[in-house]
Amino acid sequence: MSRSEFGDGVAKAVPVIISASPFAVLFGAIAVANGLTVFEAGLTSATVFAGASQLVGIELFGNHVPAWLIILSVFAVNFRHVLYSAALTPLIEHFSLGQKAATLFLLTDPQFAESLKRREIGKQVTFSWYMGLGLPIFVAWVAMTLVGAFFGKLIGDPARFGLDVLLPIYFMALVLGFRRRSNFLPVVAVSAVASVIAHKTVGSPWHVSIGAIAGVLAAALMPPPVKRKPDEEAHSLEAGQ
């Protein structure tokens, strides 16, 4: 049972690893180009484990921005995890404290999206399943960072191979995964407009937090259209299968 749960998680990890690996390689290559050692690049991926923020951080590091501002920018890009961990809490109540600590360390965009998807089809998020998904992603992220750091010079300009367009497309795929939720279109519209305006005025990386807060506030201020009852939805889905 627990073995097949782990296997279910691993199966979901495969597309995540394929789409995230270019960014790990990219991070490793840019990190070494900006003066980090191979070990430092790997250590960053193993301790921070948050791709978009690592790329923002290494970009700032390359521009000789003060350390506290780099850390603050990484915090700003990762602020969404506050909201993720809040939304994940009801799903992991049955985990032990140590399991929760490990679970929250591995909390990434795809990990969060897949966990909520699993809950919405009526399956429980078990620790085995969560680790089956998260551990291969973590190992691959660190390994591909080292690959990028070692062979960075072979990649050259990432835009020449079109690798730079993968990141926004990948995030858009994650957005589309939530399109059946109530308030989806108004939330996306508000976040899009707010983040674009913030990007042009306040600048990166603050547009992430500003746009996200605008979208979340919009959802909170709108009258709830239909009362969501996740348990009933889940059960009816299960019965229908």
Binding site: F75, Y84, A86, A87, L104, L174, V187, V196, R228
Partner: protein, 103 residues
């Protein structure tokens, strides 16, 4: 460059790691203190993933060149029918084709 790790770099890396882990546990700690989740907060939490992820896409679309705009538009259409990997391949192929043939 012969050293494995400098002290300055270690401080920055661990600072970023701690800041990131703080974001990952604080939502959990906040929710644990509240017994019942009010409906509006429930609606807000439900909107989190779409709201956050959109901010990583929309500015990239606006700031990107022609090939990025077309690639994202094609991926959006592809994403309504296909899963993530074919969607990534479709968008990537369109961007590379425009860069080599048009720009």
């Amino acid at each position: 460059m012969n050293t494995l790790l400098t002290a300055d770099m270690l401080v920055i890396i661990l600072g970023c790691a701690l800041a990131t882990y703080a974001t990952r546990i604080s939502g959990y700690l906040l929710i644990r203190r509240m017994k019942n989740i009010p409906p509006r907060m429930d609606a807000a939490l439900n909107a989190v993933p779409a709201a956050v992820l959109t901010t990583l896409v929309a500015p990239a679309f606006v700031a990107g060149g022609l090939e990025v705009k077309v690639a994202l538009a094609v991926s959006l259409l592809a994403g309504l029918w296909l899963s993530t990997i074919p969607m990534l391949l479709a968008g990537w192929a369109v961007a590379v084709a425009i860069r080599h043939l048009v720009l």
